[in-house]
């Protein structure tokens, strides 16, 4: 049975040639490789950064890890009592403020926007407003904190206190909490909600029993990301008055009385402080690197957990 020819001889020859030729798409290869290179450069930078910091801080971290975590701010870098304890306490309290203020308010706002808000101009305004807040530079939040919490509300916050810093950072991460929680809630399948209504649930019962459990991993991812942002932020803290120089007091983690005591320290700020000190005393660069490693351990752990959680649930739900 002779095959019917679709095209003429000439065309047939060209097509056969085109299909049989081992195609070497040089431009395509070069393009792909250069793309890969750009990506690898970014990863290489990350690797250099981590290796550089860990190498600089290695001496302190392996030499006297306990002393470094339990020590305080000192004038000289070779002082055996030099350490980050005050900064850890400050950062711990900032994290508490973020968790207690930003999480409930942010998640509440996200629930309202996704489930209750009427589709009108005002709702769109609120959403635009939240997106804009997320893009406001962190130092502007520092100005807000300086103006409002340090100067105008000194009677409540104690001025340049951990309370002022904590509230400022809670405000700073609030829009991130709202936006990530909104995305998580938006992903809840309509069918789940309708099922709940079908068995007579009220709106809140439906949200509580269907929406929140389904969105929980997504919301948790968002809160972890915003927490890691919060504990790594330095600029607003410099404005609301983290001390430079000496902090005489070394409170324990649960000294509630010191929350609004004047002056405090936090992990990102102690790094800045020590980097600046390294101009007159080069040993402080190592202390700063060691403090960075301590901070990075927390931040990367939180981020990695968040990313893992998100990917895990994304895959599970297809």
């Amino acid at each position: 049975m002779a095959k019917a020819r679709l095209v003429g001889d000439r065309t047939n020859k060209v097509m056969v040639q085109a299909m049989e030729r081992r195609s070497t798409d040089v431009r395509g290869r070069v393009f792909q490789i250069s793309l890969l290179v750009t990506l690898l450069v970014s990863l290489f930078i990350l690797a250099v950064l981590i290796v550089d910091v860990v190498m600089d801080g290695w001496g302190i971290l392996t030499g006297r890890p306990g002393g470094f975590l339990g020590g305080t701010m000192r004038s000289l870098s070779d002082d055996p009592k030099l350490g980050v304890h005050q900064a850890l306490v400050g950062t711990f309290w900032i994290a508490v403020f973020v968790a207690v203020l930003a999480f409930p308010i942010g998640i509440g706002a996200a629930i309202w926007l996704e489930e209750y808000a009427p589709k009108n101009r005002f709702t769109r305004f609120i959403e635009l407003n939240i997106r804009n807040l997320a893009g406001v530079p962190s130092i502007v939040y520092g100005l807000l904190g300086l103006f409002l919490f340090v100067n105008h509300l000194e009677g409540v916050t104690g001025g340049k206190s951990i309370a002022s810093a904590g509230i400022t950072l809670a405000i700073l991460v609030l829009p991130i909490v709202v936006i990530t929680a909104q995305e998580a809630i938006r992903a809840v399948p309509q069918g789940l909600k309708e099922g709940a209504y079908g068995v007579g649930a009220t709106k809140w019962t439906m949200i509580r029993s269907q929406v929140l459990p389904y969105a929980a991993p997504g919301i948790l991812t968002g809160t972890l990301l915003s927490m890691s942002r919060g504990i790594g932020e330095a600029a607003p803290l410099l404005l609301v008055g983290a001390v430079s120089g000496r902090l005489g007091r070394d409170s324990g983690f649960f000294d509630f009385g010191d929350i609004n005591a004047d002056a405090f320290m936090a992990m990102p700020v102690i790094i800045v402080e020590w980097v600046q000190n390294s101009g007159r005393d080069p040993g402080f660069a190592e202390a700063a690197a060691a403090a960075i490693v301590v901070l990075l351990v927390f931040v990367i752990l939180m981020n990695a957990t968040a990313i893992f959680l998100r990917n895990h649930f994304e895959n599970k739900r297809g």
Binding site: P104, A163, A216, A261
Partner: protein, 346 residues
């Protein structure tokens, strides 16, 4: 379940606010770091007979930002042996420090000059008696590039090079154009490197060299703004090295170990004197000044914490180690003896 978690969070929020509110109610009397402004009450508790050698209480220090690092370093070393004493150190400036000191609000005042008559009167009025203790010397090295022919500069020269009226000057010889009697300076490029405005060395330099001339000429006591300011002393030294006809200044302790720069002699009216530890300690080198602490006698009497702190300050760890640790020049042994005698004979 979820609702309960949310409720827990909200309750936590409210509790925290309550705690914050409660804590600020008694702000002044909790927290070891709170300044002991209520002198009689706090010294009442301090006066408990201390068991063998250990004392507790608090010491409040304020004053010069130049002296602050010494008092801080002494406090660090002191707290290692007396962990129950909380020392707070502030550095708003010598004048502000004396205001607080004479109002009885601080136990010790750091000062980069001696007390003025007007300040002493304030103290006398409020019945604050004090003892003056010289603790160290702040010397500032004035430098240029290694191959600059200039060897010695006068205060007038320095004013002409970096004073407030020299803004825009690009050559050493411009210094003569202000009508001041200056040395014969070369017509060479002038690149200036120095510490920034927040630095204690910046203030010291102005107060020692520029202030008197600026006052006479009705100018603000400051430097010209257009020079390379940096907080990092290494960067200042590198800048000075980078040009043959640079000009700059940093604390003496830092400059002493630097290579590739030339420390200029300075003529403060009594001829050119080179900077070294001896001429600074003896006060011959003009760009130097003594640093003091002023101790409130009554408070030292009442509070074992204050007297123990000053005792420690007077020891070799204080006048010797701490002063050198933070980059100042030690007093001569004789002068140390005089200071200790002052303290002992209060």
């Amino acid at each position: 379940m979820r609702l309960q978690k949310l409720l827990v969070l909200i309750i936590g929020l409210i509790t925290t606010f309550a705690l914050v509110a409660a804590a600020c109610g008694n702000d002044d009397d909790d927290g070891a770091a709170a300044p002991s402004t209520s002198e009689q009450q706090s010294s009442g508790s301090d006066a408990q007979p201390a068991p063998a050698g250990t004392v507790s209480g608090s010491v409040t220090i304020s004053g010069s930002s130049t002296v602050e690092p010494i008092s801080v370093r002494v406090a660090e070393l002191f707290e290692d042996v007396q962990p129950d004493v909380a020392v707070t150190v502030d550095g708003p400036g010598t004048g502000d420090g004396f205001k607080l000191f004479c109002a009885g609000e601080t136990d010790i005042s750091d000062a980069s000059r001696q007390i003025k008559d007007s300040e002493a009167e304030d103290c006398a009025e409020s019945g604050v008696e004090w003892v003056e203790l010289r603790v160290g010397i702040d010397g500032i090295a004035v430098m240029t590039g290694e191959s600059n022919p200039v060897e010695c500069v006068t205060f007038n020269d320095i004013y002409g090079l970096v004073g407030p009226e020299s803004t825009g000057f690009g050559s050493w010889s411009d210094a003569g154009s202000l009508g001041l009697a200056t040395s014969d300076l070369p017509d060479a490029d002038l690149d200036i490197y120095g510490p920034g405005e927040e630095s204690g060395t910046f203030d010291s330099f102005i107060e020692i060299v520029l202030e008197d001339i600026a006052d006479e000429r009705g100018q603000d006591a400051t430097t010209r703004p257009d020079y390379n300011a940096n907080a990092d002393d290494n960067v200042i030294i590198q800048g000075i090295q980078s040009s043959d006809t640079s000009f700059g200044w940093v604390g003496f302790a830092f400059a002493a170990n630097a290579s590739g720069v030339k420390l200029l002699d300075v003529d403060g009216g009594d001829g050119c004197v080179g900077a070294n530890a001896n001429t600074i300690a003896s006060g011959e080198y003009p760009v130097s000044r003594s640093l003091y602490i002023y101790v409130n006698k009554a408070k030292a009497e009442a509070s074992p914490a204050v007297s123990a702190y000053v005792d420690f300050y007077m020891s070799d760890e204080g006048l010797g180690t701490a002063v050198a640790d933070v980059g100042y020049v030690n007093l001569t042994d004789e002068a140390k003896g005089a200071t200790r005698a002052n303290w002992a004979g209060r």
